[in-house]
């Protein structure tokens, strides 16, 4: 595989997945500015590993794993936040038309610890089952279950005052 051919395949793959990657990153970060920084980190790492990655059976899962790990890592280390300075500060979240409801949900998501938030996004936005989410997070299925339950409980706790008719039980 020549560098050019590999590069073209990389560009084609990433371009095709860009929107979905950005949406997942947005759910994790809760603002588009940080989301794009996160995607930038992820696709950079993907290119660094592209010769091996392009032969993987489930490349999407691999990229998702890079994205989630980059997110959790950045939230843990200020190094990650410092590497990607850019020309403008983070945007204030675009709250859309239903500002108050959106603010509630996104503020609640921001209050859920990063790994629980990532677990919720993987399970309920990316529709991964427990085993797939565990592979993406690099942890045991049991941990995914407990993180899911904690994340749901945290969301309930945070949204309860704002939303009537809250129900449902912890499920993992």
């Amino acid at each position: 595989v020549t560098g050019d051919k590999g590069e073209a395949g990389y560009v084609e793959y990433v371009s095709g997945r860009m929107t979905s990657l950005r949406r997942v990153a947005y759910l994790l970060c809760q603002d588009w500015y940080s989301a794009d920084d996160l995607v930038q980190v992820a696709v950079t790492r993907l290119f660094a590993h592209w010769p091996r990655a392009r032969r993987m059976d489930n490349l999407d899962a691999y990229v998702r794993k890079i994205l989630v790990h980059a997110f959790i890592s950045q939230r843990r280390s200020a190094w990650g936040r410092r590497v990607l300075l850019a020309e403008s500060p983070p945007e204030v979240p675009d709250l859309g038309t239903d500002r108050e409801a959106a603010l509630d949900v996104r503020s609640a998501l921001l209050c859920v610890p990063p790994r629980q938030r990532a677990t919720l996004v993987l399970r309920f936005y990316c529709d991964l089952d427990v085993e797939q989410a565990a592979a993406a997070l690099g942890c045991s299925p049991g941990t995914v279950k407990s993180q899911t339950a904690k994340g749901l409980a945290a969301m309930r706790r945070l949204l309860e005052p704002a939303m009537p008719s809250i129900g449902g039980a912890d499920r993992g």
Binding site: R45, L46, V92, D94, G168
Partner: protein
């Protein structure tokens, strides 16, 4: 309104993600260039996990090791000529700069009012980063010590940015110091980033943006906000960051960075970063009042930290240093999290992080008991 069960969360997440997506800032050319560099480093035997640690160590090496035992620097007084003289490195325990008086409704930190999410400022030897939020916009300030940025006729190159800022045009002086409107190559010329030489050879950068939902603002008005904020920045501050703990017996470790937030108008520590040890490693300490949410990386059965139950965990990360983390949920009213990782990304045996945690002397949740200069 969806209920907050699994299906409800699914609905909420989809509704949240399915907002109008703005144009991407992701730069594939840059990703390829940087990714290629990473490949080369890997091929030459530098493990990715080691790079971050080496880079952090390099910062220390370049700027000189900060000695936590040394007395804090005095505020930098203007010279006889009335000119501010910036240091060649900052004391990460004493944030060098602060925003001046802010309009009502503005505050330093993140927009969310939830505790634990007020984004921290970062104080390190080579830079200080602060954010400020308004009801309809946000700004970011980065201050560098003398000699960190290189100014040329048309560019300004500062650390941790991959390419130099382009000087769009001369801006009105900030407190009598030369200033420029800046932009990164290839981005919109409507930049609201200003860079000014706040002291000879020392630069500060400040950017501002309004939210997508706010009313359109004329470029001139945005620049006026930026200039006003820049003019209000106070340099040579001497108020130290308070810590809810002291640390004893960590000879050979140096403080590389302190993430802090403002509590009751006082800079108060969040994450303390240390580098050193043998083999070279990093320690990160985060201790906050128990009511403040933390990341929650610990989920394994724990061990005892001086009689308090703790959770023990191993962080598994593809690229960052792997390491161990120990968490205590409510120890003397504090949530405590200590991460330890070393350069080779290996594990030093169960309980190593706990061993380092035993070097902490916790001071409780009452800010009045907290102390500056944590290393003893």
């Amino acid at each position: 309104v969806p209920t907050v069960d699994e299906n409800g969360i699914r609905t909420l997440l989809r509704e949240t993600a399915d907002t109008d997506i703005p144009p991407a800032r992701v730069d594939l050319d840059q990703a390829i260039a940087t990714g290629r560099q990473q490949r080369r480093m890997r091929l030459t035997g530098i493990a990715g996990s080691a790079v971050a640690v080496v880079a952090a160590a390099a910062v220390i090496a370049v700027t000189g090791v900060f000695n936590p035992a040394s007395p804090p620097r005095e505020p930098i007084a203007p010279s006889a000529s009335g000119q501010l003289s910036a240091p060649d490195r900052f004391n990460p325990l004493v944030p060098y700069a602060a925003f001046g008086r802010l309009p009502a409704g503005w505050h330093v930190g993140q927009k969310s009012s939830f505790p634990g999410n007020d984004l921290m400022a970062e104080s390190a030897t080579t830079q200080l980063s602060l954010q400020v939020w308004a009801p309809d916009g946000a700004g970011g300030l980065t201050v560098y010590p003398v000699g960190q940025c290189r100014s040329a006729a048309s560019t300004l190159l500062c650390p941790l940015v991959n390419e130099p800022w382009q000087k769009l045009s001369r801006a009105p002086d900030v407190n009598g110091r030369p200033a420029y409107w800046l932009v990164l190559k290839g981005t919109s010329p409507g930049s609201t980033m200003i860079g000014w030489e706040y002291a000879p050879g020392a630069w500060a950068l400040l950017g501002w943006g309004y939210s997508n939902t706010s009313e359109p603002h004329p470029a001139g008005a945005v620049r006026a906000v930026v200039r006003s904020l820049a003019a209000g920045v106070r340099f040579g501050q001497s108020t130290p960051i308070l810590f809810p703990y002291t640390i004893h017996g960590l000879a050979g470790w140096q403080i590389t960075e302190v993430d802090y937030t403002m509590v009751n108008g006082q800079p108060s520590a969040r994450m303390l970063h240390l580098a050193g040890g043998q083999p070279a490693g990093i320690i990160q300490v985060n201790a906050v009042p128990a009511s403040t949410p933390l990341d929650g990386r610990c989920d394994r059965p724990g061990m005892s930290l001086d009689g308090h139950a703790t959770l023990d965990g191993v962080t598994v990360d593809l690229f960052a240093p792997k390491g161990q983390v120990v968490c205590g949920d409510d120890i003397d009213g504090l949530q405590v999290e200590l991460f330890f990782g070393h350069q080779r990304g290996g594990y030093s045996g169960s309980g190593t992080a706990l061993g380092y945690a035993r070097h902490l002397d916790l001071l409780g949740a009452d800010q009045a008991s907290w102390q500056p200069y944590p290393l003893r």
